[in-house]
Symmetry: C2
Subunit: 193 residues, 2 copies
C-alpha cells in the first residue's frame, strides 16, 4: 500500500484513495534524518566526554597539575545529559518510524506525535547547545569586565573537543528542525485540495 | 464561514463541507499565544536592558566604581538580539493570524508557514535562553576549577534582572512550543477520517 517510490505529482496518491489520503511519502527521509540525529548526538557526547585534559598550571606561583573535565562545568553536564536524551529519543523514534512504513493508517497519527516530541527535543538540544556555547565562549575569550580569565590558551585539547562537540550539536538541532518541517509538510499534503 | 464558536465534535465542520475541511478552529488561541510571546519577548528585553548596575569593587586593593552591563557579555547581547527578533516576529505573525480569521481557504496554508517559522524562532529563543542561563549560572556560582569568581554577591540587582529576564524567556520558549503544537494539531484535524 505504501508508495515508497517518488511520485511526480504530490496529489496523485490522495486522489486514488479518497478515504485514506496519503499525500507524499517522505518516511524514508524521516528515517534517514532520525538516524542522522542519532549519529550527531552520539558524536557530540563522545567528543565532549573524551575532552578531559590535565595541564601544569601556575597556582600562586607554584606549578600544579590541574585537570579540565566536562564534569567541572554544570553547563557541559547539562549538554551531555541533553544530547544523551536526544540520542535515546532518536533510536526509539527511528524504530517507531520503521515499524509503520507499511501501515498508512497509522502514519499520519504517528507524524503528529513525532511533531509533538520533536519540538520538545529541539528545545532541549538548542538550549543545551546555547548553554555549552555560552560557557565555551567565556573559556575561549574570557571576560575582563568581571575578571574571568580565558582558559583555552592552556587547555587547547579540551577546548577543541568542546567546540567540535557544540558544532555537532548545532548540526543535530538543524536536523531536528528539518524533521519537524518534514512531518508538518507531510501532514499538510494529506489534506485534500 | 469560519466557525469561531467552540464545536463539541472535532469532526463536524469537516463533514459539513467536504471540499474544504476546516477541522477545529483554534485561531483565537493562536492569536492569544502569539500575543503572549510578544509580551514575554518585550518583558525579557526590557528587564535585561534595565539591569545595569555600578558598584564599588576592590581592584588590586583600590576601591573603584565598576559597572555591570548586559553589553559586557556576548551571551547577554545574543540574548537581547534573539528576544528582539522573536518580539518583532510575534507582532508580524499576530497580524497575519488576525488577517486570515475569516478566510478558511488560506488558514491551512498559513498554519504550515507558521510551523516552519515558529520552529526556527523556537531554536533561536531556546538557544538564547540557554546561552544567557549558562553564563548567568557562572556569575551566580562561579567556577573554582578554572578560577572564575562569582559576581552575583556584588552585582545583586544585575543578577536579579538577568535571572528574571531568562525566566521570562523560558516562558516564551514554552509558548512557542504550544504554538507549534496547536498549528500541527489544527492541520492534522483537517484531514478527513
Amino acid at each position: 500500500m505504501a508508495s515508497t517510490d517518488k511520485p511526480s505529482d504530490p496529489e496523485y496518491t490522495s486522489s486514488s484513495t479518497p478515504s485514506v489520503p496519503e499525500g507524499v511519502d517522505y518516511f524514508k527521509f524521516d528515517v534517514i534524518l532520525r538516524f542522522l540525529l542519532f549519529a550527531a548526538s552520539l558524536v557530540a557526547v563522545v567528543v565532549m566526554v573524551t575532552g578531559n585534559e590535565t595541564e601544569l598550571v601556575l597556582y600562586q606561583g607554584i606549578p600544579v597539575l590541574q585537570p579540565a573535565k566536562f564534569r567541572y562545568s554544570p553547563a557541559f553536564v547539562y549538554f551531555v545529559a541533553a544530547l544523551s536524551v536526544s540520542g535515546l529519543y532518536s533510536i526509539i523514534t527511528t524504530l517507531a518510524s520503521l515499524s509503520v512504513v507499511n501501515k498508512p493508517h497509522l502514519k499520519t497519527k504517528l507524524l503528529l506525535h513525532f511533531i509533538f516530541w520533536d519540538v520538545i527535543i529541539l528545545g532541549i538540544i538548542a538550549s543545551a547547545t546555547g548553554t555549552a556555547g555560552g560557557v565555551a565562549y567565556v573559556g575561549l575569550k574570557g571576560n575582563k569586565h568581571v575578571g574571568w580569565p580565558k582558559i583555552c590558551n592552556v587547555y587547547d585539547k579540551f577546548c577543541r573537543h568542546s567546540g567540535g562537540s557544540i558544532a555537532v550539536a548545532l548540526f543535530g538541532s538543524i536536523v531536528t528542525v528539518l524533521l519537524i518541517w518534514l512531518s508538518a509538510y507531510t501532514i499538510h499534503s494529506r489534506i485534500p485540495k
